[in-house]
Subunit: 694 residues, 2 copies
């Protein structure tokens, strides 16, 4: 819809040239050391205006407005606020934080209980057929049944993700990291995404894939936070008309950080780790008050989870379920100084294996981007992986003879398989229990290293599929396997040393592997400290994570950062790359810059919004010596910045000035409400001002 024909009789056409700044020295070619910086600035001359053009990576991503826009409207409303309103907003923040923690924990409970219930069902169904069959001839039936069930579950998960909401794939941590750092990943915090994520992760885990559910929990917390804090839902088209003062990008970001922390807290029983996770990932906006509120949300989350899971397990108020991930009894482990070189060695191994994992996964992901971009192909690949995983599990179960006496650990799913009566196959138990239970087992029981190797490869293939999946558990499991091996080897060399506890080395290996893959530092250390409940073991864990990160960083980045790069997200890291801190911004900017004047022709605004993909435009004016100090230049002075969404609101409400009288005819007097009401789904200029586009 072209407004200019309708409006132009009312407005004076401007005839002077649009002023713009001279660019400086753009003949020095735009030096963009890692490809990220050039992607962050808008390309110039986006004539086609096609947002879906895959060759223009940057066009896919908009920035979030994390600066508070202190315009006249804002200042007027700030002045008009009374103490009661300020107090109400403060209280509202705490109330929202409480519910973020509470609901995130409930969702975590639901996921956990759902997975356990469905897993039990699956196990019982398969057990019937396994028990009927004690020799190899009739094994085909239970095998096919097992495969069919797994495929069915994974098929559902992949369908939901590939066709329902692709941004629900993976863990969600890279997307949340981008969101917290100012890049708007489309649909990342929608309720629909939450739905696909929750159902999808349950299906994937029950389907036996080599994944964990912790990452998706963090994403879920973020969505819950975004939803509650805005008091509305686009998916359900309801607007509770509360929390309007939170309908700004920077407010939403603060709550999303709390949601992510609550998710970590529920997943690992690690409230402080959750806070540090949000800090570490979304460093740019930390402030004291926010950290305290995020901590509150985390605490509420772990407490709520604790209460509900305790009630579910019939031990109400015993509060022994701080998080979904239970490492077992590590509170009493100690270490002595002589072991530190061993930990350093394990850290090196973790860094190497983690770098290898990331490298393989990177190659796989590039392959997927090129050849498996169609949804049906993605679903097919997921099904294929499910088949393979189940087949491997089946083969290992039958070839590895590792029978344990029944009753050793009642939470496992005992299958007799080829063992004698009164015994069960521990290898089969590994595959039938949830991955979290396997973590516990590997830390404490005798398992075979073969499991570790195959799990490593399967996990590497699995991450990046079109299903919601977490990375933590597969990495912990893999590391626990080789760590335990290491411990067992040590034990055989030093049978008398009581400090050689294979379970302890399994824990160290798990930390090393996880650190080698994700390369997180302080938050991961604290998460593991809290999850193990052992503070004094914090130093070995820290050493191991530090070494793993340093070694891994020699080869490649952490897996989350790799996937962010793969998707071409223009994420600016905290520090500039080495040797680039002296490069001035002008060397990477495009030219010319599209600017608007303080009074602008509506037709020109509409043209610009249609032709260009920019989301912000500098406003310039002529140099006025008597005005207050401004950033000035021959061609004009910088007056401010206006965003696309603000222009859209002005156009929508036709808040125009009459060209000669300067009065505003037949329009509403704009206030912040007009902006927060449409936030965040500002209509597109292309489809007309009446329909949402995002």
């Amino acid at each position: 819809m072209d407004d200019s024909s309708e409006i132009s009789p009312l407005l004076q056409e401007r005839t002077d040239d649009t002023p713009s700044y001279q660019a400086y020295n753009t003949s020095e070619s735009g030096h963009s050391p890692d490809g990220l910086i050039s992607a962050a600035v808008s390309d110039d001359g986006l004539i086609s205006g096609d947002k879906e053009d895959p060759h223009l990576l940057n066009a896919k991503f908009e920035g979030l407005d994390y600066d508070v826009c202190e315009n006249v409207l804002y200042q007027k409303e700030e002045k008009a606020k009374d103490e009661k309103q300020i107090l109400r907003q403060q209280v509202a923040r705490w109330v929202v934080m409480f519910f973020i923690g509470f609901l995130t924990a409930l969702i975590a409970c639901a996921i956990d209980i759902g997975i356990k219930t469905m897993s039990k069902l699956k196990f019982h169904v398969i057990k019937i057929y396994f028990d009927q069959c004690m020799d190899y001839s009739c094994l085909v039936i239970p095998f096919l049944l097992w495969v069919a069930l797994d495929v069915a579950f994974v098929f559902c998960a992949a369908l939901l993700t590939a066709y329902g909401e692709p941004v629900a794939a993976g863990s969600g941590i890279p997307q949340i990291k981008c969101f917290l750092n100012g890049v708007k990943i489309p649909h990342v915090v929608r309720i629909k995404t939450l739905f696909c994520k929750v159902i999808g992760v349950m299906m994937s885990v029950v389907g036996g894939l080599a994944i964990g559910k912790e990452g998706p929990m963090i994403h879920s917390g973020a969505v819950v936070a975004a939803g509650i804090s805005q008091g509305r839902s686009s998916t359900f088209r309801i607007d509770c008309k509360i929390f309007e003062y939170f309908r700004h990008d920077h407010e939403k970001r603060d709550f999303v950080a709390a949601g992510a922390a609550a998710g970590v807290s529920a997943a690992f029983g690690a409230p402080v780790g959750g806070v540090l996770f949000s800090l570490e990932e979304g460093a740019s906006f930390w402030n004291q008050g926010l950290t305290w509120r995020i901590f509150f949300a985390s605490m509420v989350s772990t407490f709520t989870l604790n209460v509900f899971l305790s009630m579910y397990h019939g031990k109400a108020w015993q509060l022994s379920y701080a998080g979904l991930l239970n490492f077992g009894k590590f509170e009493d482990i100690t270490y002595n100084g002589a072991e530190i070189p061993l930990y350093i060695l394990m850290g090196i191994v973790g860094g190497l294996l983690g770098a290898l994992f990331n490298h393989i996964n990177l190659k796989l992901s590039i392959f997927r981007n090129q050849y498996l971009s169609k949804p049906w192909k993605q679903v097919f690949e997921a099904v294929l992986v499910a088949c393979t995983t189940t087949t491997v599990a089946f083969i290992l179960t039958y070839t590895v003879k590792d029978c344990q006496a029944l009753g050793k650990d009642p939470t496992l799913h005992p299958l007799q398989v080829h063992c004698h009566d009164g015994q069960y196959s521990s290898m089969s138990a590994l595959w039938f229990q949830t991955p979290e239970e396997s973590v516990n087992s590997l830390f404490h029981d005798q398992k075979v290293a073969l499991f570790g190797l195959f799990y490593f490869l399967l996990a590497c293939w699995t991450y990046g599929l079109s299903v919601p999946s977490g990375l933590f558990i597969p990495s912990l499991l893999t590391g626990a396997a080789w760590g335990r091996l290491f411990g067992i080897a040590l034990y055989s060399w030093f049978p008398d040393a009581d400090w050689v506890d294979p379970g302890k080395f399994a824990l160290v290996g798990a930390a090393a592997q996880l650190g080698g893959v994700v390369r997180m530092t302080i938050s991961l250390t604290v998460i593991l400290i809290e999850a193990t409940g052992n503070i004094s073991f914090g130093l070995p864990i820290m050493i191991v994570l530090m070494i793993a990160k340093w070694v891994g960083d020699i080869f490649n980045e952490g897996l989350y950062d790799i996937h962010i790069d793969l998707q071409g997200v223009p994420l600016l890291h905290w520090e500039p790359p080495p040797m680039t801190s002296h490069i001035p911004a002008k060397e990477v900017m495009s030219y010319p810059v599209t600017t608007l004047r303080t009074t602008e022709n509506v037709g020109r605004i509409v043209d610009i919004l249609k032709k260009e993909g920019h989301v912000g435009f500098p406003i310039v004016d002529n140099y006025d010596p008597d005005a207050p100090p401004r950033l000035c230049h021959r061609f004009g002075c910088l007056r401010g910045l206006i965003s696309r969404s603000q222009l859209i609101v002005l156009l929508k409400y036709k808040a125009f000035n009459h060209p000669t009288t300067g009065k505003t005819p037949n329009t509403v007097q704009l206030n912040t409400h007009h902006f927060t009401e449409i936030y965040p789904r500002f209509p597109s200029i292309h489809v007309g001002i009446t329909e949402p586009h995002e």
Copy 2:
């Protein structure tokens, strides 16, 4: 020394008026809501140039240069850096962090061992006389001896502080907080201060004052960090010529933050708490990489302390001394939801009592500022407090009959006093052991509430004396006392309930009282979680601290903030006070502003530096339409900012331009080294350019 007469024949006298910006609307009187903002801007017209004028609070404090000065010199050197240099700096940072943690822990060990040794000696000497005397007639002798010994110790501590280094008084936490937030408190991180602090706190504790040593540990860590990172010492006049690249305010600040964290870590065995403490107090400059390094320093600190104290106690490598403060066995305490209302109540009590403590201490401190400003009066007051403390201890020991069987706890100092053979007076033990041991006792043994009341009053009188003293232990002790009372009361009402554990309520009371006094939030929660070794009890602790803070904030600020205000330190808080966020800076600025031109007369520079106390001057130039965009105005354009210290260096090296040729005659080519070499003791303009003034 007036340079202008020497220089002026070489330079052209400028005759045009010095341009300066017009101020805007200063008729609207400078609205300064809490007195802090007006103190932060320099007064204009400081004709006398007297920095010691007590009526000009702001003149006492300079700001620290926390922005990186990206001038031509800096940019040239950044470009010239090669990868090797960058790597070397990175490695150096980690090495320095290691030694910060290591040395801080050693100092903490030294303090701890020193206190324990001297306390034992004092106890043995007094015990001889006590044992000789079993009736009341001859008690005068041991009493006078006890008083004499305590007075002697406290007298030494007060002498060192009042005459040696006054900034060593108190805990040091307020000063470190100011330093981390950009206010230069004179002498706060000098080695001399460290010396006075360490010796002083040992003397004060042994002298029986109602203080703790934890706060001084944090200050000590900060000094160690400042010293090591600069590779030099002004006190010892040595310059190791290393770490020159760290000789900037922002680098020093980063290391000081690490030192403070290492101090917390050593004091409480709380490395994560230490990191959060630095974060919470010095919020303005947080970044990811720094947090990881600070965590490393904290971990090294607690590990080193652990190793050395274990060796000292003959249990090498058992590593059971994570921190100097030992809360005893709290790892197994649990709670249920029904107790939460009780915790909320205790939080309210803690907030009220904390606000009362702060109020009394504030009144006392105002009195001290007015009437006890002379050092000898301060020493006298300290001695008086020591006498009173000892007398109270003595009287309580003899009037409160609380005998326990010997051998109950071998670390106490048993005095038979009035008890039967084989028993000892537990009240006397409370007064003879170190305060940290008392914490443990009060948490776990039967003690009288009288102790709590008197300790509250003595602690209130003691904080603010001219001795190094910490606040944490007195607050914890007081809270433990009333918390335990509360637990005992509950126990008498519900004798059958097994959840009523007076020790647990002592812990909650301690947290409430400490939170009510210092009003710290997340860092204190985590410190207490780590110190008790109990993560699940984190939620009650957090609730209690939150309530105590909210209740206390109704009446007054935290004690550290109160003392910062008392000293008139122009500390800008994170958030503006409520209802002030719309006030523009121009309404609180002074006028006119002293500016310099890009080429300036040496004589004028010298005059300005002598007459005015400013530490920074804007540089303005005429409007040039062809120049790159600048902040411009009728009267000129802002070109940059130059600091007093930079001007001093230019004057010192006579880096002048010849007025006609523009060449630089007979001077060195300045580089960053010239600035870092003199940092931080830039000479004063008054005493000539050759002597340091700071």
